[in-house]
């Protein structure tokens, strides 16, 4: 047994990690090249733009801190989409689950001390606020899961519909019952949450906004890995995802696992919203959740639905979003170009055959089936 832990094991691990990362890295590279061509076409200098992007993302301690701040919700939301993928489900509803998580965390954060009449200690208030956000996301994910499992409604359309329903509900709440009552406020947003509900920052320096939520995201990524690969539930999720018929013959309750998978996925997306409220913005504002759902899909696929890959992909996407501001400041290229580059990244990752075709890479690994048609 001893020589199992020899250098060969490490070497094999490195080699498999490299072969897993090969296509995503080339996909990002190719997307940047195409993005650069687009920048040149609209009259910009792609080299200056990318230099600004890199400086803004990773060029200083403050830039690194902001990149971590951006990456935090991406890690949670990317994990959310990945968990659903592992269960053979496509969760396009991360955006709605995230928005509801944020709304509920904000509500517990600002309303609970008033309702109780006394201040809670942070050690109780923070978990309550975050926990309610996770619960809201889990419920919002479980509904399309149950519709899929017991009534055959396809989760792709249902999660999208749930996004619009969540958006209308948050508009309703943030413009009405939950609107910040301060006299100068005209924005659809909640009041700020109590000090006791705020997740602290990592450093004292005012400019470094990176908070314990980022550490939590890394820990949760590890936990998701553990659940998926080391527990019975994870085994059931992956079996149902790979082959629901086989899972049924093996005696698994496929319907229950589908609902649990979607609840798990929604819970992680809700956590993304919760942490944004309790650790960064200290309130929920309408419109902040826009676009996270699609970004999360891109991150989950770029990270090949593996928690470690998702952390890396989230830091990359967070860095792009963060660096885009400096790029715009230096070169007047609108930050929206990042959305184009991210769409191209997703295109090349999803269509890895294109990447293999461009770079003449032979393929040996089997294809991973992520979703199925409407019949499902």
């Amino acid at each position: 047994m001893k020589d199992k832990f020899s250098i060969n094991v490490v070497w094999d691990w490195l080699r498999s990690a490299w072969s897993a990362m090969f296509v995503p890295i080339l996909a990002v590279f190719t997307a940047m090249v195409v993005g650069g061509i687009i920048i040149a076409l609209v009259g910009g200098n792609p080299f200056d733009a990318y230099l600004g992007l890199f400086q803004g993302a990773f060029g200083s301690v403050k830039a690194l801190s902001e990149t971590a701040v951006w990456a935090t919700p991406y890690i949670f939301a990317g994990l959310a989409v990945a968990v659903a993928f592992k269960g053979g489900l496509f969760n396009i509803g991360a955006e709605g689950q995230l928005a509801l998580g944020a709304v509920f965390s904000a509500w517990i954060g600002y309303a609970l001390p008033d309702a109780l009449g006394f201040d809670l200690p942070a050690i109780i208030h923070i978990p309550l606020a975050v926990g309610f956000g996770m619960l809201a996301g889990a419920v919002w994910g479980a509904i399309p899961g149950a519709l899929k499992a017991y009534m055959g409604g396809h989760e792709v359309i249902n999660t999208i519909m749930m996004n619009y329903i969540a958006l209308n509900m948050t508009s309703f709440l943030l413009n009405g019952a939950m609107k910040d009552p301060s006299p100068t406020n005209v924005i659809a947003r909640t009041p700020t949450i109590a000090m006791s509900a705020r997740i602290p920052r990592l450093f004292d320096a005012e400019v470094l906004r990176v908070h314990w939520g980022f550490i939590l995201a890394l820990v949760v990524a590890g936990l998701v890995w553990w659940v998926l690969w080391k527990t019975k539930l994870g085994f059931e999720i992956r079996t149902v995802g790979a082959n629901p018929d086989a899972a049924r013959y093996a005696g698994m309750n496929v319907e229950k696992i589908v609902v649990l998978t979607m609840a798990f996925s929604g819970m992680l997306a809700g956590l993304a919203g919760s942490v944004e409220v309790t650790a960064l913005n200290y309130r929920h504002e309408l419109g902040f959740s826009m676009g996270y759902g699609f970004d999360a899909i891109a991150i989950a696929l770029l990270g090949r639905t593996h928690p470690l890959g998702i952390v890396l992909a989230a830091i990359l996407f967070g860095g792009m979003r963060n660096g885009a501001t400096r790029m715009q400041f230096l070169t007047q290229i609108p930050t929206d170009i990042i959305s184009v580059i991210q769409a191209l990244v997703l295109l090349f990752v999803a269509a890895d055959a294109i990447i293999r075709f461009i770079y003449h890479i032979r393929t040996q690994e089997e294809r991973v089936v992520l979703t199925r048609g409407w019949g499902g």
């Binding site: 396009i92 409604g153 359309i157 676009g291 769409a343 019949g375």
Partner: protein, 365 residues
């Protein structure tokens, strides 16, 4: 499509109409309200109808297309942009620019569909992910170009942004201008009636009938359905599966492109990021609800149109809503109707739908 389904659809539409008629009866006569509801329903159902037809061509040939939303968004933007160029830069009159814009929108839809076809047919990418790529790409490209061209200091128009040439005229106005005012009687009888719709809305209805004919009464339709149901059998009798699928996905894209043109060239003369607002997905639900048939999809699109028309009309009759139904005053709640309807319908409460057998399955020779 079976009668039960049509009966169910008719019942929902009657309920939605009745709510508005009852609430508005103190302010306006029922006939006037029904007339305006029908007109609004047909108008707002237009992109849903065309989106559903788009999905129909793709899925009948065996390719799932959830990128309709993105195709419509991109078509809405590029069609609108083309009409501005033709009007302001090439100096065309408003109407030719608008028609040119419509053609460019259709072309854009076809181009995005070509990308979907390359991804899903040639590269055999998971078709739902391929559609998601189309959606994200459309949001990114339209958002970027919209800002780059119209909002930045160094924009192409140098801060002097030209106006859009307006929207397409309705049937009565079009006839009036064609006859140079010579057919007043005809114009007066059409004007204000239910058929006084704008051209894309009318075209959409014609395309429903056309698609029904093509799918079920032509050799092309038979072949399309064959590659969607049993590609192996189709291949055996000499049908080129990949080519049939490419052609149908692109035709689907053209339909989505026309649907996109509705937003910026027929409905309002402007573009906003994300303006399709989920209509592409609702169109897909309409197609499923209509059990993959053109008339069924159209009927389902009219249900969603009616629920949107109800929302618009309830805003007008806001003051007359009785206090027991105060919930209808909240537009956020009424606005949920199409989304909740979509979810209810997908759960199969009115019977199971059957997708084409090979829908979503790449064909390996």
């Amino acid at each position: 499509m079976e009668l039960k389904r049509f009966g169910f659809i008719a019942a929902i539409i009657v309920v939605l109409f009745s709510v508005v008629v009852l609430i508005g009866s103190s302010q306006s006569s029922p006939l006037v309200i029904i007339g305006s509801m029908i007109a609004t329903t047909i108008a707002v159902a237009t992109p849903l109808t065309l989106g559903a037809l788009s999905g129909l061509y793709c899925e009948r040939a065996g390719v799932v297309n959830i990128g309709i939303e993105g195709m419509m968004l991109a078509a809405a933007f590029f069609g609108w942009l083309a009409s501005i160029y033709m009007n302001s830069i090439f100096g065309w009159a408003a109407l030719p620019s608008l028609i040119g814009g419509v053609f460019f929108a259709i072309f854009t839809g076809g181009l995005f569909a070509l990308l979907h076809a390359v991804l899903s047919i040639t590269f055999k990418v998971d078709q739902i992910i391929g559609g998601t790529v189309i959606n994200i790409l459309a949001i990114g490209v339209t958002g970027f170009l919209n800002r780059q061209m119209f909002f930045e200091k160094g924009s192409i128009f140098g801060g002097n942004v030209p106006h859009a040439p307006g929207t397409l005229p309705s049937l009565a106005k079009a006839i009036d201008s064609l006859c140079n005012g010579g057919c007043g009687g005809l114009v007066n009888s059409i004007s204000g009636s239910v058929i006084d719709q704008k051209p894309i809305a009318l075209l959409a209805i014609l395309l429903v009938a056309f698609t029904h004919y093509v799918l079920f009464y032509t050799r092309w339709g038979l072949r399309t359905r064959a590659v969607g149901e049993h590609p192996r059998a189709a291949d055996t009798v000499g049908i080129n599966v990949q080519r049939m699928r490419y052609a149908n996905v692109i035709i689907g894209g053209l339909m989505a492109g026309l649907g996109g043109a509705y937003f910026t060239l027929e409905s309002v003369p402007s573009f906003e990021p994300l303006m399709t607002n989920g209509r592409g997905f609702i169109a897909l639900a309409a197609m499923i609800f209509g059990n993959w048939t053109p008339f069924g999809a159209w009927a389902a699109a009219l249900v969603f149109g009616a629920s949107q028309a109800m929302q618009i009309n309830l805003q007008i009759f806001r003051e007359s809503i009785p206090p027991q139904l105060a919930i209808l005053q909240i537009s956020y709640i009424v606005g949920l109707t199409p989304y909740i309807l979509t979810m209810l319908i997908l759960t199969g409460i009115i019977g199971k739908t059957t997708p084409p057998a090979a829908d979503g399955v790449p064909y390996e020779k």
